[in-house]
């Protein structure tokens, strides 16, 4: 009996050892990338879209003998959740890079953890300028809010605004954008007559909108995310507020906006980090591939700017892998060296290379306007 036990134990141990060897031999060929974003919470539709886009890239560009594993990291659009989710994976040696951050607030909350873990992180949406301050491991593909604030403010001037009101979501993104617009207002020749904030708990914007209406502004800036922007637009229509609305890129979400606000969104101007150009071959093939791959899967989300940047982020990491950089330190060095147009990466959103702070050079916000329930380029 004892002998049999021993035999069984030996067999089990040897199988485990062999399995371990197999795992070990594969280790060199398998690489993990964290795909960070909100998979739950108010922006739950974003995370899966990002994952789809990154997965699409690696399905299209397979490297022989290299397995790329994508793991979702869910921040629920909440800084505290971002911290705990990132802490849980930061120590994993297989994880060599991160594609992340829809929100600026989560990017800022995750900053210390990812810098300490020396994790090269490519940012596809968080646009507050402070995100890349003192963050050598953050590389941002999108234009920043100071640029966005200037664009929005200059457009208000173009619309002939003399008086403006600001409604901002009380987080780093909303506040940062609101501050930027306020700083620019003077030189654009209009006066800010009201600045009001709101938060997650706010569902009734009517009191604030009534106060704004009383000040009779020509334009109203909305610095926040699409869900609340929808409520603002609907309730503004209800209150008979006739000002023109200009919104930050948090509201740049065509599908949600049209579904929720319908006709009340007509004439809204929205800053867009990127607008697809169907005449551009790369854009068109990306859009076609995305639709073919994911429309059937039940996810009828139209690709958006952030999915395009996530796709290019995947491309950047892939370029590093192909050049033989397969650990955090050398990937970081590779990205850091991408500091001139010659060394840049030519993706679907254009040529990407980084300034010493880690922001992509030459990125501009564009302005879209809602016309006949669709975004069109504003001129």
């Amino acid at each position: 009996m004892r002998l049999r036990c021993f035999a069984v134990a030996t067999a089990v141990v040897s199988i485990l050892t062999l399995y371990g060897c197999r795992q070990g031999s594969e280790q060199g060929k398998s690489i993990t990338i964290g795909v960070e974003g909100p998979y739950e919470g108010p922006n739950a539709h974003i995370g899966p879209m990002i994952m789809n886009s990154v997965k699409l890239y690696f399905d299209q560009h397979k490297t022989d003998g290299l397995t790329i594993k994508l793991i979702p990291i869910d921040d629920k659009s909440n800084p505290a959740d971002a911290v705990s989710a990132l802490q849980a994976v930061a120590a994993d040696p297989q994880l060599v890079g991160l594609i992340g951050f829809y929100n600026s607030s989560t990017a800022l909350a995750g900053k210390p953890i990812l810098q300490e873990a020396k994790m090269p992180s490519l940012i596809y949406s968080a646009s507050n300028p402070k995100v890349t301050d003192d963050a050598p491991y953050y590389f941002r593909l999108v234009p920043t809010d100071d640029n966005q604030a200037i664009g929005l403010s200059d457009y208000a001037k173009k619309l002939g605004a003399k008086k403006a009101a600001i409604l901002y979501y009380a987080d780093e993104y909303g506040k940062g954008l609101a501050d930027g617009i306020q700083a620019r207002a003077g030189s654009d020749g209009y006066q800010i007559v009201s600045v009001q904030s709101y938060d997650t708990a706010t569902t009734d914007f009517r009191p604030v909108l009534t106060v704004v209406k009383g000040k009779n502004p020509d334009v109203v800036f909305i610095c926040g995310f699409v869900e609340k922007s929808i409520a603002i637009l609907n309730q503004a229509a209800e209150r008979g507020l006739k000002s023109k609305f200009l919104a930050g890129d948090g509201t740049f979400d065509e599908q949600q906006l049209m579904q929720g606000a319908g006709k009340n969104a007509e004439g809204l101007y929205v800053a867009a980090p990127y607008v697809f150009d169907e005449t551009n071959e790369k854009n068109k093939s990306y859009l076609d591939a995305y639709w073919t791959a994911y429309e059937k899967g039940g996810s009828k989300q139209k690709p958006a700017s952030w999915t395009a940047f996530a796709y290019d982020a995947a491309g950047l990491l892939d370029t590093a892998f192909r050049a033989g950089h397969r650990d955090r330190a050398s990937i970081h060095q590779f990205l850091k060296d991408m500091n001139s147009p010659q060394k840049g990466y030519d993706g679907i959103t254009g040529l990407t290379y980084f300034n010493p702070k880690g922001d992509a050079v030459g990125r501009q916000f564009r302005l879209a306007v809602v016309k006949n329930q669709q975004f069109a380029a504003a001129n």
Binding site: E40, A44, Q196, S197, A201, T203, P207, V208, N234, K242
Partner: protein, 383 residues
């Protein structure tokens, strides 16, 4: 502007009052601080949406889990009402529960708004009764300490939220505007459209050139007035209400007189649930969106309003709700910044925090609440 804010405050207050009444009924009769009340309301809102729009992104999970929840609710609630033989009682209740389950599954996404609302009201009330029968009643029967009942209420609240979270996913559901009943979804009125046409097509009743009232807001105030008057008459005139008051004030004596105290308390929960469901329906229409956690904020605000007015007293909770609605609505118009600037020496303003009261969100209401209960701990109205 002040007039608009005042009207909006009244509407907001009316909505809160519809929630407050349920808190007050539960506390006034069974002495339970029913934290689950607002979650029952949101569950009812979610149920209405299920029947009306369908499960949206959770096309299979939401209908199944919601049918289970409301089917179970109907079964447990039925046990509270039915009398007679045990076996027959259970059989009837099972039939009712299964019927609810099947009807919900079959009708999901197929009903017009009004029909969905009509079905949702009694079933939400049933769910409220089920929380009483299933959780609070066993505790009350054993003379459990108040803190245990409070903890149970908190537990029911969180468990219900989690259940809804699993059923619906955590995404906030913004309703497609196209699905909202015409006239109840306000739109910008184009110039040249007046009176009845504006009301029926754009959901807004223009009063003057610059003032208008959304039809939905009128409806909310109307529903509130009908409910408040109805309750007033009920408590003044009906014998059932006498039994309720007796069961609340002297349960032992009431039982000795042959009043089925437990069933009567169940009725109080049913009534509170039904009114909350009306409130939930209007809340859903007014915010045009819903998520499983959206009960928390109005729920805690309604509870604060109740305490402010005097929990347990209907008049008090209604007054508290209206006051809270007015305060939240008027706060952004208070020119605090201008006043403080006028009082402070020049240059000092840069040390001051934000003086815009809307930045302080609900903080204003709670500070006011603390001030009032410091001076009148029992609330504005005693029962």
């Amino acid at each position: 502007m002040i007039l608009d804010l005042f009207l909006n405050g009244l509407v907001q207050g009316s909505l809160l009052a519809l929630i407050c009444i349920g808190y007050s009924l539960a506390y006034g009769t069974a002495k339970v601080i029913n934290f689950a009340h607002a979650d029952v309301m949101i569950a009812g809102g979610g149920y209405l949406v299920l029947l009306w729009v369908g499960g949206t992104t959770q096309a299979t999970r939401a209908p199944i889990l919601m049918s289970i929840l409301f089917g179970t609710g109907a079964y447990v609630a039925a046990l509270t009402w039915l009398s007679g033989r045990r076996l027959i009682q259970h059989l009837l209740a099972v039939v009712l529960g299964l019927a609810t389950f099947a009807a919900t599954l079959g009708l999901a996404g197929r009903l017009p708004f009004s029909a969905a609302a009509l079905i949702a009201v009694p079933l939400t009330a049933g769910l409220a009764t089920a929380t009483y029968k299933g959780v609070y009643l066993p505790l009350l029967r054993r003379n459990a300490p108040r803190t245990s009942v409070l903890l149970a209420a908190l537990g029911v609240s969180i468990a219900l939220e989690s259940y809804l979270l699993v059923a619906w996913g955590s995404e906030r559901r913004v309703f497609p505007v196209a699905l909202l009943p015409e006239g109840l979804s306000a739109q910008a009125v184009p110039p040249g459209v007046h009176g009845w046409q504006a009301a029926s097509q754009f959901g807004v009743l223009p009063l003057t050139a610059s003032h208008s009232i959304p039809i939905l807001d009128l409806l909310i105030v109307l529903v509130f007035l009908v409910v408040a008057t109805g309750l007033g008459l009920f408590f003044r005139l009906s014998r059932a209400a006498d039994a309720m008051v007796a069961s609340a004030d002297a349960p032992l004596a009431a039982r000795a007189c042959g009043i089925p105290v437990e069933r009567i308390l169940g009725q109080a929960f049913f009534l509170g649930g039904a009114i909350a469901s009306l409130g939930g329906t209007l809340y859903v229409l007014r915010s045009k969106s819903l998520d499983p956690m959206s009960g928390f904020s109005p729920g805690i605000l309604a509870f604060a309003a109740c305490v402010l007015g005097g929990i347990g007293s209907l008049r008090g909770s209604i007054a508290g709700a209206l006051l809270t609605g007015l305060v939240t609505s008027l706060a952004p118009a208070v020119p605090l910044e201008r006043w403080v600037t006028a009082c402070l020496p020049a240059g000092w303003m840069r040390f001051s925090p934000s003086l815009n009261l809307s930045d302080w969100s609900y903080g204003v209401v709670y500070v006011l609440m603390i001030l009032i209960i410091l001076f009148k701990p029992e609330g504005l109205f005693e029962r």
